[in-house]
């Protein structure tokens, strides 16, 4: 960049600022290193002009995601690294009960409003009805979801009556 006349008061020096235009198209990576997608839009607060969040463009036919800046861990010209694992990406993961049996796949993620806090997951398998597993029934979340031993997630098959 050529020499620039700077006019600032309480703001951070120019060297410590990021050119938002250069962030477009950069990767968004979760805490665990999962590449979520690429930045398509950057949203700025109309009142205080601060960065509010980014839109993430994902694979073909996947819905875009908007992530607020409170979930950002590091922002650079290479990528935005988040301080979370996105709970909405749990959709499609296998759900394994405490005995090691696969009881279905996540078809819906239940969150507290629009935050990343997980309330539970809706699970379904080929012949079963959808059933909810609350957060308290989940032991660990990783490549698949493992349930706690005391959680008894009974499959409800379509031939079972709805009570």
């Amino acid at each position: 960049m050529g020499e620039v006349e700077t006019v600032i008061k309480n703001e951070a020096p120019l060297e410590k600022s990021v050119n938002l235009r250069k962030l477009i198209g950069k990767k968004v990576i979760s805490k665990g290193g999962q590449i979520i997608g690429k930045i398509s839009k950057i949203m700025v607060n109309q009142k205080n002009s601060q960065l509010e969040g980014v839109f993430i463009k994902r694979q073909f036919l996947s819905k875009p995601i908007y992530i607020g800046r409170s979930y950002f861990s590091n922002l650079s010209y290479e990528a935005v690294i988040l301080n979370i694992e996105l709970t909405i990406l749990l959709k499609g993961k296998k759900v394994v009960d405490s005995n090691g049996k696969i009881i279905g796949k996540v078809v819906e993620v239940l969150r507290k409003d629009s935050t990343n806090d997980l309330k539970g997951v809706v699970v379904k398998s080929l012949f079963s009805r959808r059933f909810i597993v609350p957060r308290s029934g989940i032991k660990s979340i990783g490549n698949s979801i493992i349930l706690k031993s005391r959680h008894n997630a009974q499959k409800k098959y379509f031939w079972n009556r709805v009570k």
Partner: protein, 162 residues
């Protein structure tokens, strides 16, 4: 027919090797590691030592000590660890999110499930001459679907020069 019993102890809750063989092995992260191929027993002390896991066609097997086994259930063997060998092939990003390359191999502390160094095969576009980076475990910030470091790419080169 009721079997005769001269065990001297209550064996009704015991499981046999046949109950373990062929079961899925699932790590702490919920990753399916493979299936139990063999059960290892100490020939002198006659105690259960661990299991040998078949990871699939053309993949090297893995032996897991009993200290790393959480429990054996009706359908699977659950581990209380994330198997560090599963890091192989994952992408390594620096603190800024720069793609450094992929994990080609790892060095462990003896036979424990603790990483000492990871060897990263550098992406072709990033370096023409250097082929591999050796990164100590203290520079690893998190391991999940991929690996994130707590240092920048430039700092890694400086550390290597020092």
């Amino acid at each position: 027919m009721h079997k005769r019993n001269i065990s001297g102890i209550e064996l009704s809750n015991a499981i046999s090797s046949e109950d373990i063989l062929g079961k899925d092995v699932i790590d702490l992260n919920g990753t399916f590691i493979g299936v139990v191929e063999r059960v290892m027993i100490d020939p002198k002390k006659l105690i259960f030592m661990g299991i040998s896991v078949d990871k699939g066609f053309l993949k090297r097997g893995l032996t897991i000590g009993r200290n790393y086994i959480d429990r054996i259930s009706t359908h699977a063997v659950f581990l209380k660890i994330k198997v560090t060998y599963e890091i192989k092939g994952k992408i390594v990003f620096d603190k800024d999110g720069t793609n450094l390359g992929t994990v080609s191999s790892i060095d462990l502390h003896g036979v424990r499930n603790e990483i000492k160094f990871i060897h990263v095969r550098i992406s072709r576009f990033h370096s023409l001459f250097k082929r591999e980076l050796v990164i100590p475990s203290e520079y690893i910030e998190s391991i999940g679907e991929n690996v994130i470091l707590n240092v920048k790419k430039e700092q890694l080169t400086k550390i290597k020069e020092e």
